[in-house]
């Protein structure tokens, strides 16, 4: 056998799970047992412990998610899983982003949660701390793959040293820029804050704004603001520091220069890229999920550049995680599903087909991403991407930050006053 380091009993246990899920015949199981030098009676007891007499009935795993629809690739993922484990199938239900999160808590209270939840990573710690999710620490440590994941995405699955899930997908932000406009003006994409401001100003002409982003009063706005905060060297614990204030001041300056429309206060990231595709903005800070739309819609040459650097490079981590609900009757089967999707072959296949970025650094070395002029820009920023892992009170902190940037950008208060106000709310809420 090839896995000389793994003890035979451990291997038999894994095989036993496969039998339980109909992936392996009982006969093959016992043949392997003999090959490994495990007696048939011990093998039989392992099989019984796995709940697998081989006749356990089929299990349908329920799954809730808020991933964009339609997505034939994820449907294919469920189908492939069912072919690999004929006794298991996945029944996925889609909710819109807001609906999913207003539904989870009441459903948890009523004991109506599905087996598997695919959730946005900033919400993960809140649900972990609230006791909604199954603790997967021991399963994950015996699986032994944690070190292959990027640190940012992985940290969002942890709460107080315990592990409540596995990253599903990761993304971060970059600057999309209109190459035609940049060439016409003889400019290069900005690499520093000063350059961002001056380049944006130079590209602003009649009817075209140099720069666009989303600063809407929702988590999307916070998501786009945080990279600037972190680039300044500040964090949520130091919003009112000179560095933190400088981050907000930069955006106020760009707005006051006229290089960014006031509409950003109501723009979603989708609105921002729509302006870019329509040729109304020369740059848009956005995520990799916009690439398919750009490929279809843009009539000009575009490219992607890393976010500019303040006193340090920083980016924000987006994406979803796989989790299992605490009330699930099929935690083992659900874990089988998650573990299967995270296999190198399966994950690579799915990520490439679906245009998603890998969460595992070992997979990211695949030439598909490394040679892609767009995706490679995002991947190279992953080491700088921070998760919004600030404990269960994060939604309140996020709301305070939204109020801060909106009141400074509308001129209701200065950047300093806005950040001081936010800091007074955020500081006591930090874990």
């Amino acid at each position: 056998m090839n896995s000389s380091s793994t003890p035979p009993l451990e291997i038999m246990r894994d095989l036993g799970t496969n039998v339980a899920h109909g992936k392996l015949s009982r006969r093959t199981f016992f043949e392997r047992a003999i090959a490994l030098g495990v007696s048939t009676s011990v093998a039989a007891s392992i099989l019984a412990a796995c709940g697998g007499s081989g006749s356990s009935g089929p299990v349908t795993l329920s799954l809730w998610h808020a991933l964009a629809l339609p997505d034939p690739n994820i449907d294919q993922l469920y189908k492939d899983f069912h072919s690999a484990f004929p006794n298991l199938s996945v029944q996925a239900t889609y909710y819109s982003y807001n609906d999913l999160y207003t539904k989870i808590v009441p459903a948890a209270a009523a004991g109506q949660l599905p087996d598997i939840l695919n959730i946005d990573n900033p919400n993960h710690q809140a649900y972990s701390s609230q006791g909604i999710l199954a603790d997967l620490t021991s399963k994950i440590s015996s699986w032994g793959q944690a070190s292959n994941y990027y640190k940012g995405p992985w940290s969002s699955t942890l709460w107080q040293g315990k592990n409540y899930g596995v990253p599903f997908e990761s993304n971060c932000l970059a600057i999309y820029y209109n190459v035609d406009m940049f060439n016409a003006a003889g400019l290069k994409p900005p690499t520093t804050w000063d350059e961002l401001r001056s380049v944006a100003k130079k590209l602003t002409t009649n009817g075209v704004y140099g720069y666009s982003m989303s600063l809407v009063k929702s988590e999307e706005g916070t998501f786009q603001f945080l990279p600037f905060l972190w680039q300044s060297g500040a964090d949520l614990s130091s919003l009112d520091s000179p560095a933190g204030i400088s981050a907000l001041q930069l955006l106020v300056d760009i707005l006051n220069d006229g290089s960014m429309t006031k509409d950003v206060l109501n723009y979603t990231q989708q609105d921002s890229i729509t302006q870019f595709i329509g040729g109304k903005a020369a740059m848009s800070m956005n995520g990799p999920w916009q690439l398919p739309g750009l490929k279809k819609g843009a009539t000009f040459k575009y490219a992607v550049a890393p976010l500019p650097v303040g006193t340090q490079a920083a980016n924000v981590l987006g994406g979803e995680n796989w989790t299992i609900s605490k009330t699930s009757q099929h935690v083992d089967e659900a874990w089988t599903f998650i573990q299967w999707t995270q296999g190198v072959a399966e994950l690579t296949k799915f990520d490439i087909a679906d245009g998603r970025l890998p969460t595992r650094s070992d997979i990211a070395q695949n030439p598909t991403w490394q040679n892609d002029p767009y995706l490679s820009v995002f991947i190279k920023q992953f080491p700088d991407a921070k998760a919004r892992a600030y404990g269960p009170n994060y939604p309140k902190m996020s709301a305070a930050i939204q109020t801060a940037f909106q009141s400074a950008l509308t001129g209701q208060s200065s950047a300093a006053a806005a950040m001081q106000q936010a800091a007074s709310i955020v500081k006591p809420l930090l874990p």
Binding site: Y101, T102, V105, P106, A108, A109, A126, Q130, G131, I132, V216, K217, S218, T261, K262, D263, V264, L265, N266, Q275, G278, K280, P395, K396, A399, Q402, T403, Q406, S407, L409, T410, Q412
Partner: protein, 292 residues
């Protein structure tokens, strides 16, 4: 047994009211005097905290600002919906060519889902490419595009405009029904006596319509005060908190911050105010009946 038979007929109605009205209202009332967070919901342990949630809500500057915003929103919407609806009702009282189809078309805003209306108005009010600014700029009525939804000083105007547009058909339909119930002989007699249209309107139409007008206004106030989806879609309560009305505040407390106790307290306070308004309406209505 026989005496019980009539009661069995009202059981379905009672069940409906009990499950869909009384139980949720009672639960909401209960939540408003308990500390209800996620942990509490999961474990079922929601300790009684007396009026603490009410103190918290009433002491929260954001709640007080949401009350003022709600007052402006409701007063403006109801006034304009009512006046425009009344004028249209007067127009459609008499039949004229195409009056039927036109009246039908005017009902469309009432039939459209709020989500659709909200999204369309959000687009039309955009700073850059919105229809409103395009028309106003083309007509040289303004020189700079207006940041309808992005400027906290005027952002409330957006949902107000959209909500007036939605509410006009409702006002028109109810008032038109009232107008059509007034006997034409009254107007004939008045014109024989030499009363002009202005006099006829104030001396016949308004007094005869008193109960309909009252009903339309009270229903308008209640419906408008509870508007949530339209504002949520158009501005999400922003920019800053410029369009955060009491329902948006309650939503945020309950489903963003998971402080369901405070969210419930805010809705109970709104509910009490609306009950008082409705009681005044009923009292006036009773007096009306006594008088006639």
């Amino acid at each position: 047994m026989r005496a019980l038979t009539p009661y069995s007929f009202i059981i379905p109605a009672l069940l409906f009211l009990g499950i869909f009205l009384i139980y949720p209202m009672f639960t909401n009332l209960l939540y408003s005097v308990e500390r209800v967070d996620v942990g509490g919901l999961l474990t079922g342990v929601t300790p009684f905290v007396g009026l603490q949630n009410y103190q918290h809500v009433l002491g929260d500057p954001q709640f007080r600002s949401s009350v003022i915003i709600l007052l402006i929103f409701t007063a403006t919407c109801v006034t304009f919906q009512f006046i425009i609806g009344f004028l249209l009702a007067l127009l459609f009282k008499d039949r004229f060519p195409l009056s039927g189809p036109m009246r039908g078309v005017l009902m469309v805003p009432w039939l459209l889902p709020m989500v659709v209306s909200g999204t369309i108005f959000k687009w039309m009010l955009q700073l850059q490419n919105g229809l409103f600014n395009y028309v106003l700029l083309s007509a040289h009525l303004i020189h700079q595009p207006i940041a309808w939804l992005d400027d906290p000083h005027i952002a409330l105007a957006g949902p107000i405009i959209a909500n007036i547009w939605i509410g006009i058909p409702f006002n028109m339909a109810l008032l038109l029904a009232g107008l059509q119930s007034i006997s034409p002989s009254l107007y004939e007699a008045a014109s024989v006596d030499g009363a002009n249209l202005w006099h006829q309107f104030w001396r016949i139409t308004v007094p005869m319509m008193r109960s309909q007008i009252l009903a339309v206004l009270v229903l308008g106030i209640i419906l408008t005060s509870n508007v949530f989806d339209l504002i949520y879609i158009m501005t999400g309560g922003g920019p800053v908190n410029a369009t955060t009305t009491v329902p948006i505040y309650a939503y945020q407390s309950s489903f963003v911050f998971y402080d369901l106790g405070s969210g419930a307290a805010a809705t109970v306070l709104l509910f009490i105010v609306l009950v008082i308004i409705a009681s005044i309406y009923i009292a006036l209505l009773n007096r009306e009946e006594v008088r006639s």
